[in-house]
Symmetry: C5
Subunit: 239 residues, 5 copies
């Protein structure tokens, strides 16, 4: 896209401070009337985390949980304490800590599920806030263009000045369209897609740790976990 822009002339013609003020300021203002500041701030935080979130292989996770299950069976639940250092996923570490601390399986499940629900709510709120910005930005862009057009038409002395004035007036529409369609709508979509896979990972962890704590047969535990994923992706650790 930058390529296409550069070919047609200097990038500087796409930068106009009053236009930026109208679109960014107006959109920010509308969004902050609609949502409290803390929620908008959270939405950007969630978005940042989601972009940095490293998609975890579901199969690797199942293999890892099966290892912990076998370890816990042989050496007791406290053996998980040592394994915790190698684990990167914070949620899994927390679940293991709770298991090592001697929580009941049901308590562990209900406490972690509550946390998953709050994560899900935060993601949904974030996706909605980005959708709201994607609706406000083009509206502010249109308002900015109307302002520019009215000013231009009122003071139309020099026909040669019409072109550049019109170009500036169109810039706010351009900013609004870019904010909405290049940033906010795809980001809202990504938040939804990532939220689904993050929730799936966390649900698997909860199911797995509950199984381990209950001392279930590892084969049955593997079947349970496999039920969450597509048939073709299932790779048994038992041969």
């Amino acid at each position: 896209m930058l390529l296409g822009i550069i070919q047609g002339g200097p990038l500087s013609i796409f930068i106009n401070v009053p236009s930026l003020v109208i679109v960014f300021g107006g959109t920010a203002g509308n969004t902050l009337v609609h949502y409290p500041f803390s929620d908008v701030f959270d939405a950007f935080n969630v978005a940042k985390k989601t972009l940095l979130y490293k998609e975890q292989s579901i199969n690797d996770l199942i293999v890892q949980l099966m290892e912990f299950a076998n370890k816990a069976r042989k050496e007791g639940i406290l053996a998980l304490q040592g394994a915790m250092d190698e684990v990167e996923d914070e949620f899994l570490v927390k679940a293991m800590q709770m298991a090592v601390d001697g929580q009941e399986p049901d308590t562990l499940r209900s406490m972690l599920m509550t946390e998953v629900e709050y994560i899900q709510q935060r993601h949904e709120k974030g996706a909605n806030i980005f959708l709201a910005i994607a609706a406000y930005a083009p509206a502010m862009g249109m308002i900015g263009t109307l302002i520019g057009l009215v000013q231009m038409l009122q003071t139309m002395d020099d026909p040669a000045a019409i072109g550049p004035a019109m170009a500036v007036a169109l810039l706010t529409t351009f900013y609004g369209a870019v904010i909405a369609n290049v940033f906010c709508t795809p980001m809202s979509g990504k938040l939804k897609t990532r939220s689904e896979s993050e929730i799936l990972v966390k649900t698997l962890i909860i199911e797995g740790m509950q199984s381990i704590l209950s001392g279930e047969n590892p084969r049955i535990m593997e079947q349970k976990l496999h039920a969450f994923i597509a048939p073709k992706l299932r790779e048994s650790t038992f041969k």
Copy 2:
């Protein structure tokens, strides 16, 4: 936004009385055909209250309710009479008055819940009325611009007059867009967001007062109230 406008010329070019009459008059007319006058009046009242509504710290409220619970346990329910003077929230004062007056816990709950439902309904109606205005205003703006264009095109004698005439014609579209996107849509969103947090505060008050009246153990009462808020925000008063 004002900055951007001012830079381009005097603000006076954005004011045109017939245009204002068409957009504001037309939108008001449509809205008052759609909704009875009393409902529209209520919507603006609710909006005013919502803008002035001081967001209450949920944690402070829980701490306050825990204090009342301890006081009621030690000195009896009538001791709340004295504490009522320091309380700002009208709904909490009402709930305490009912408790001091000797209402049964269930009666207190059902009477206050009915009131919360009516508050919720009023907020929803208000949000819908602002959405309706946000739909009528741009439509009236477009009609105004069409009127202006037809008049201009019919009497096109002097090419130099086209610009300003066109500018005036576009003003109604501008007014419609501003009413819809800068005022009504964000206001409708704010009404929904605020309604949720106001309802949450009132529900906590009802739960708390019912607990106090029933003489429940303060620790259990705190757990109940904490269930309404995010895990990270919970601060126990018991150390």
Copy 3:
């Protein structure tokens, strides 16, 4: 709005017979393909009645029903015969007539409820027909403008004639926007709002007459009826 139009030139420039034929004829044609003639005719009848419908005070109605309840308790159900002359609401007269005729409470309720359902269906159909017209009219307006533009562009001999020809072409868009946004959409909204309050009045009448016929205690009857309205509006007739 008329003010704004008049200021800009004679009203006659907004009247163009072929444009009117295209928009009104086309919209009428589309609507009559979509809905049978009798339904469209009914919708306009319902709209007329709704506009003339005098909003009834719910409190006055409850007071009146309480009077009838007391009268029926003291002088017997037949005493309502005399009171019927003062009643304006046709539905209430019908309900009283049925009570005086000796109908069972349950029969009275089910027969009147059936009628309320048909009224509700008629209102909904009416609101939908106005929404359909509000969708067809701007579409026909756009088609008319396209016809005008094509004709103008094909026969562009005299540049001076472009303005008025363009003005005429825009008239159909103007007509379509006015039909949709100034008449049909608010009318559809009004039908919904009025329908709700009319149904509420009729439901109160049914509840009240059933209570009277069953010989219920007036205090209990008043509580039942009050449950339909906001707490602040309730005014007991018992002091």
Copy 4:
């Protein structure tokens, strides 16, 4: 509408073969990618039948069914054989044939209901296909106009040629709007409205024939059938 067109010039300026090819061909192509050919063909067949469908008086149908009920009661079910010649409605003939053939009431009901469901599904599919065409046609119209504009702007030698070229470019938008708004959307609406009344007629026939076969009391049968229609339309055959 034709009137309005004719006044402005010869109809021939609205006919342009390449434009017709783009809009009709493109819309047909899209529709046939979306739906199999047989379904689209069926939709047009259903539409044709719906347009020719003679709205049947519900009251006449009830009167007729009551006659058959009385005849069957007096002369036996086989007497319906003779009455079948006067009946126009194919579905009623089929129902009577099944009754004369000695089908059980429940079998008759379930077999005819299955057929009604398939009719309903076919109508719905038809209405959806017309809606899809109504969505594809304006899109193809816009694409055609873009093609025309690009061609015109690229080869802009003679200013006098701009008008007619622009007129031709707008023709595809015009075709798309006419296909969508004058044909497909009202037709889709009509299919839904007619489907409802056709289903109502068929349901009445099924209910009536089942009643006749079960030898129900005609008065009860009339009450059952009247339950399907508005109170005001009910005319008892018993005086």
Copy 5:
């Protein structure tokens, strides 16, 4: 459509590399932010398969299943091993293999149903991804046109250059409209239509194989299978 384009000038005027980069690159970028790469890749795979999917005659399938049923009755279930070579449908082969391998009817059903559900989910995801592309492409087209307009208006020296520059600016809108309306929307619709008929075929196979494995009477099995298709299409194999 090509015809219409060719008539107006050389096809080359519709090709502009920077415009293609903006629309295709931008749309691809947005889609890949929204959905993970593997899902988008899958969607195109599903679309390819769907286009190549040979619509299977439901009647032929039922006849074939009836043959297998008769064969299995006479010669035992293992006789299906030989018949598998003539079968083209992979899903049917898999079902037969499971039957020959001695799976229980219920296991066969539940295992195949799980697979059908995953197929359905993949189709739905595919249809949604094409809908998302159909939403992003016109947005990127509009952004590209805005870029082109701003560049053109800023550097408006030669009036003769306006036409071609405007034509190039419109190309991105044209590309966006073609991607959305000629490719993605009909493809999304086709995925839904085909998905339905593919699922129907697979459900029939599951029902049939379960019937065969359970040793049900072929006449009853035929009635069961016929219940899935329209009455007029049913052709019994029993005369």
